[in-house]
Symmetry: C2
Subunit: 210 residues, 2 copies
């Protein structure tokens, strides 16, 4: 157990570099289509002028997400992983080299859409943010516990659809608390902006503490 894995060594190197730049770093994970990109784009658009953000996005194919995020004005680096189902610290370290970290307050890494494999790879982040969409059902924290157990923040997204899908909020929050009692939970809609202000206050408070 004593020997750090290769990934842990790169993660420690990333973390030291990010700290030296005074950055707050997020690793955003979820199932495909939960709204990671929409959530990041909305956050950086709304906080433009209040903080300087940069993004690293991992996908098997296309640079669709980097292009969407770039609309917010923030620099976005796309990592294309081919058939790899998760990002690793070495890839993120390399991509970070393309950003001017000293000019940023916040670095957001959007991971590959996968609720299992990314949980085992530390990228050097300060906070692991797990998104759950109301359209996926209330049982996901129970069925995919490995990821939720490593969450610092859980974002319940697409709350604008909660009524349309018959989302059982009480059961969902109970399930999140049972598996991830350590996590801070936000209920939002990346599309309408509902609940995003509480998330911004939390974020700015954390950046202030860096």
């Amino acid at each position: 157990q004593g020997i750090l894995s290769k990934n842990d060594l790169f993660a420690a190197r990333n973390r030291a570099r990010f700290k030296a730049s005074g950055l707050l770093v997020l690793n955003v994970v979820s199932s495909p289509g939960s709204g990671k990109t929409a959530f990041i784009e909305r956050t950086l658009t709304d906080l433009q002028g209040r903080l300087r953000g940069g993004v690293i996005v991992g996908d098997l194919a296309t640079d669709n997400d980097a292009q969407r995020i770039a609309r917010s004005g923030a620099p976005a680096i796309q990592i294309t992983t081919g058939d790899m189902c998760h990002l690793e610290a070495e890839m993120v370290g390399k991509a970070a080299g393309q950003l001017n970290l000293d000019n940023l307050d916040l670095l957001i890494v959007e991971n590959v859409g996968n609720l299992v494999c990314p949980s085992g790879y530390d990228l050097g982040e300060d906070l692991r943010v797990v998104l759950l969409s109301v359209t996926e059902g209330e049982d996901k924290p129970l069925k995919y516990p490995v990821m939720f157990k490593t969450a610092d923040v859980v974002i319940v997204n697409k709350m604008d659809l909660a009524e349309a899908v018959g989302f059982d909020r009480t059961t969902a929050l109970d399930n999140i608390r049972r598996i991830a009692p350590q996590a801070t939970v936000f209920e939002v809609s990346a599309r309408t902006g509902l609940g995003m202000h509480e998330w911004y206050a939390f974020l700015e408070q954390r950046i202030g503490r860096q």
Copy 2:
């Protein structure tokens, strides 16, 4: 390249056994929460009396899905994978031993919710059925091509929500056709039953040909 992987050897063994029992076997894959269980439960409930179905379900944790599927009257075996992100042929072969295959026409395997890793593991199935929910966005075939390229059938599920989410059907179908021109596509709602009859006709025709 000549040496079959361990998984391929078990898959070949499964396939021989399934053929000997005259079964049609499906491997149902998707992101977490796309509606695999709802789709399987609805299929077996509606086709009760017309065909004899059995199910093997893979999940990291809980037997929620096997219990839901058992409501249809079909036997359902739960495989709990712990932290493994996909099913493998050996696990499926073992689980199949708990079913009376000679008394079945249809065996459905519900894979772990993951749009990447399961694509590399043949389970011995006849058809790979990939579900895509309208709530996930139109770009998933482009962003997660590896899975769609191996699809025999693509099910666009939750069509009852298409209007509520602003689903762009033309773009989604274009993207599916571009990546998976080989696949037969069905647009359904596992919740309301919309479009399921075309799927049942396809299924019964395939079973008749086994």
